[in-house]
Amino acid sequence: MNSERDKKPSINSRAGKPSSELSPDYLSLKDTIEQLARENIELSSKYSAAIQYLRNKIDQLLTVMGTTPLKPEELDNTTLIETDPIGIISNSFVQILKHLHKTNEKLKNANQEITAIFDSAGAGILVINKEMKILAFNTKLGEYFFKDKTIFLGQPCYETICNFQNPLAECPFRKVFQSGKTLRLTGWVINNRYYDIVCAPINHNNGEVPSLILLYLDITEHIRMEQALRQSEEKYRDLFENANDMIQSIAPDGSIQYVNRAWREVLEYAQEDIPNISVFDVIHPDCSECGQAFKSVVFGEKSGRVETIFITKSGRTINVEGNIGTVFSEGKLVGTRGIFRDITERKKAEELLSSEKERLAVTLRSIGDGVIATDTDGNVVLMNKISEALTGWSQEQANGRPITEVLHLIEETSRTIKENPVSTLLKSRQTITLSAHNTLLAARDETERLISYSVSPIIDRQSNIIGTVLVFQDVTEKRNTEEKLLKAEKIESVGVLAGGLAHDFNNLLSAIMGNVELATMELDPNDKAHESLSRAEKAIAMATELAYQLLTFSKGGAPIKKAASIIELTRDSADFALRGSNIRCSFDLPDDLWKVEIDPGQISQVINNIVLNAVHAMPEGGQIHISAGNIVIGYDHPELKQGRYVKVTIKDTGSGIPKEYLQRIFEPYFTTKHTGSGLGLASTYSIMKRHDGLIEVASDFGKGTTFSVYLPACLGKIELNPLDVEKPSPEKGRGKILLMDDDEMIRLTAGEMLKQIGYKGVGAAEGNEAIEKYKTAKNSDEPFDAVILDLTIPGGMGGKETIRNLLEFDAGVKAIVSSGYSDDAIMANYRQYGFSGVLTKPYRVKDLSSVLRKVIFHK
């Protein structure tokens, strides 16, 4: 305080300074004092005025500084001046001004920054006033709307931007002036471009809105992209919905995310069903691995092609095929997606095809012919069972091999290799049919078979050859049969010749035999001639046998059949043939053998011939085995009618028959023996044929031969033929017999024979004579008890016509037919022609006696 007081005089002194300067003229002291007093008053009033002025100014300054004015009691004038508030405040002002200056700098910078931002903003910025006049716009906005115009600030925005004459009443931005609220518009279209616009009012503190700031953002590209995206999405949706394949998206828990129309249609679900079902409703419950498969897809273990079975809402099953994959989003599995196709139809078609294939395969397999199919290169693609058997190649082995390797064809006569018909066809492109009997198929094991074949191209719908098919048959058997037929014809013609010869020969033998027998009977039992006669009789027997054999071929040599057991017959015939040989013969003839319909004489001759040949084939001795069995032949036998047969097999261990002779042994006169006639098997063959039977031969050259004969079994009741009962010795009879024969020698011999056995014989040379004599005798006291009629009378009425005439005259005529042709139909069926008995020439006394006894006395 003291220091402040000390400064006061300095102010006074300074204040007094001008007053000393105000007295340039030295006045009277009084005046001076008065003057000074006045001046002092004046000065002090001026001082206080100055002080007051200072205080006022200080107060004024303090008010500016925002504080209260100085209170006079607070500071006296001296302290006031000492304190120097003005100095303090002006110093503070300096600082305030400095600070303001700094602030102004900053503001200027900020303003520049804002301007830069304003211009470089990515959006267009427009500032307008209430009259819609442009106050400011940035570069971007200029680019947006004023590209080709020069725009002056103050021009209305509706003219320059919207291109209207007058402001629009409904202009939304105008309303912002009233509302004072920020307005946002999106997709606002100006000049075909889209803008997002934010219109913010620039609010003044008084709530008035003098201007608006509009921010334009060009979103045209964005919108266009959105549109493109939407379009592509629509396209995709369209594809998705209209796809014919079933498309599904399944969540990891099996629930369905979305499916397309095809999926719903095929599986019979409506759109509203979808949220309530899961993939497990669709996977077939029987398909246990399907559920598992879905899981493995979910766990990413599996993807790609799948084939599975779906079940529809109604329970139908559907085979589907498709692709599935997993869908990941940000590394997490969000589901599986699958596209499936209903392949039920295709599956069915495949099954149909495979069953068709199966059917074809079975058909092929059951075809009796060999079938081989090849491709266009002639490589085997298919073989059936028969072709496998015939070629010796299996389908597996032959597959893909050239047919020339599988099918070896040889020209039979030249034995050269034939060109394969498949190759020929592939060259000529024409069907080849060949049935000529000269192609041999050599199988893998080198057995050869005669075949006929045909090859056809396999042609597709476009008429292209896609392969060939070769069909072939084994015709070896057929040719054998044909050859046999040929042979039979040959035998037949020989038979005709032999028959003619045998007829005459037989008559001669009958006469010789009759006379030799008569001579024997007439001779004294001790006569030496007996020996010669018996030798003659043996020779006659052999000659008869020969003649009989010849006769077997002759026409009309039908067997006189009856039901008989072959057991005894076989045994006896074999024994007979074996006499005098050292061959052991075993029999296997079961008791239950069926009776057969045979001519016992002929069949015993068959057995005899075969056994005799066996004996001849074993000059060093050996074994014969004869067996028999019942056998039923079906429809398929080439040479035998269907029915029941007894098969007799005669097997020897002899020399066997060379292959090249096998086919010839049945030919007449074929023999390998010096003394053989070659008629044994020929007549055997003929007999078997006439019995509706069969003879077969199989021979292993060097080891032995087996002959088999098939005899037809008789089915009905077996009727015992009275002829069966043979009487061992001639017995005496009584009666008158008419004997008709063209051969006088026969008439004489027979007449003698009749006499021997108690009958009276009357001869007739031919039919008319016989009828005449019969009629005459009938009307006399001594009619004929029986007539014996020769069947064949050259140049006259034969037995057949004679009996007809006799029957007309006398229905009770007892007639016996006689002929050397034992296999003549009339001989076999004599009763049908009105005969009561049959007599085969040549006959012995006992034969004559026996037949007469039967006919006349029914014994």
């Binding site: 500084m65 303090i88 405040i89 305030i96 303001l100």
Partner: protein, 79 residues
């Protein structure tokens, strides 16, 4: 950083303001530098309106803390 303390308790406005302004003027350089901070203890409530505003106009930063029986007005640079 130095803190120069002025105890102006008992003074009232405008004297307090003038004292504060004088102190600010005297140390303005150091305050702006950030080497000095001024601290005024005052019990005059009116000064709370004047000192901080004047200091702010001069570009300084003022903090006022209410203490036991007085206010502590600190004036420093604006960071």
């Amino acid at each position: 950083m130095n803190i120069i303390e002025f105890d102006i308790r008992g003074q009232i406005c405008p004297s307090t303001l003038l004292t504060a302004l004088k102190a600010i003027n005297d140390h303005s350089r150091q305050i702006t530098d950030g080497t000095v901070k001024l601290a005024f203890k005052t019990d005059n409530r009116d000064s709370m309106g004047t000192i901080p505003e004047s200091a702010a106009n001069m570009g300084y930063k003022t903090t006022v803390t209410k203490k036991e029986g007085y206010y502590l007005v600190e004036i420093g640079s604006e960071e």
